[in-house]
Subunit: 207 residues, 2 copies
């Protein structure tokens, strides 16, 4: 199924919102779901129509059906094996996040260069040396890497991950990395987010 | 100046890319800048036109002029005072990020509930108790809060921040928070990002 990235991100949010939430009913209207997530009802209906879900005029959408259909759409059957590359504060925080969320994402390895961490469990994940990325990515069928290394190492480590056959990278480093077309790159840029906030609150105050 | 959030985010990236980069020339063409950031040249030209910058047909855009104009557009004169709320691994990682980037964002306070941290410097920032948010936000003119508390505390802490007069929130918690129209909310959702990657690499492999 071909769906835009923005739709996938929203489907993921619908599922998590409805899964974590003790909604008082078995059904929910698009306008209620929209309100919970600061979206428009049209947006919600369009997204759900794209995955083939239609609501009932009187009752809205069946929540269980919605969650199941989103899962069928987004999740892969076996789940994805994930590696955290860079086991500093950020790497440990991301590990805790993934653990806490009920997802099909299995953290199977961490990588670092700190000899105090290599060969040990850090935040309950076995930590390997960055030099062993190729072997471990292959042996453990790792498809997604979370890049949480210091900026100076980002490009070298990303190059190594791509050569090792990784399919997706979540880049936290603020450093631009180039990926070939078969690798899906997603960036989380903390400074860009803060500068965006800064701009809009400045504009707001000048009104 | 009214600019879309996506434009602001890209302007922030242009500046950081060109500022961190030893570009061999004083000028850069839109297609070169676009290539560095996986964008289209049209997108780059449109963004720069919105802030009143036009390139030279033969030489492209003057890099210094571009950086100065982006700074004039995005930055507020005095900068923004930022608080990190939740000084666990993620809070400390975000603190390090902001410090490392040259920005107009000044981290002036951290908040936590751990008595081992309160009243001390954590990652070089004075840490206060969450109960003192109101006083400290006012006394230190804090306009932006980075929310890195555990999910169970997200809503209460956000409510307190909003009551205290915060203008912008960067929410890392994966918990949906409601903000009034005068507060600018930006969310960084790690699980959503990973699920998006998971979907697209699954699709890719089924081609």
């Amino acid at each position: 199924m071909r769906l835009p990235a923005t739709t996938i991100a929203r489907l993921s949010k619908y599922r998590r919102m409805l899964g974590s939430f003790n909604y008082e009913s078995t059904h929910i209207f698009s306008h209620n779901l929209a309100k919970l997530l600061n979206l428009t009802p049209e947006q919600v209906r369009r997204d759900l129509m794209l995955i083939g879900l239609t609501g009932n005029h009187r009752k809205g959408y069946n929540i269980k059906e919605l969650i199941d259909l989103v899962s069928k759409t987004i999740d892969s059957e076996k789940g994805h094996n994930v590696a955290i590359v860079g086991m500093g504060n950020l790497g440990m925080a991301v590990t805790a996040f993934i653990r806490r969320a009920k997802t099909r994402l299995n953290i199977v390895a961490a990588f670092d260069i700190d000899s105090g961490k290599i060969g040990k469990k850090v935040a309950d994940v076995t930590c390997y040396h960055v030099d062993d990325i190729s072997d471990i990515v292959r042996d453990l069928s790792i498809s997604i890497a979370v890049l949480t290394v210091p900026p100076g190492e980002a490009i070298d480590v990303a190059t190594l991950l791509i050569k090792s056959g990784i399919k997706g990278i979540l880049n936290f480093t603020s450093v631009h990395i180039d990926v070939p077309p078969h690798v899906y790159l997603k960036e989380t840029n903390i400074i860009t987010s803060l500068e965006e906030i800064g701009f809009f609150i400045k504009e707001g105050s000048s009104k």
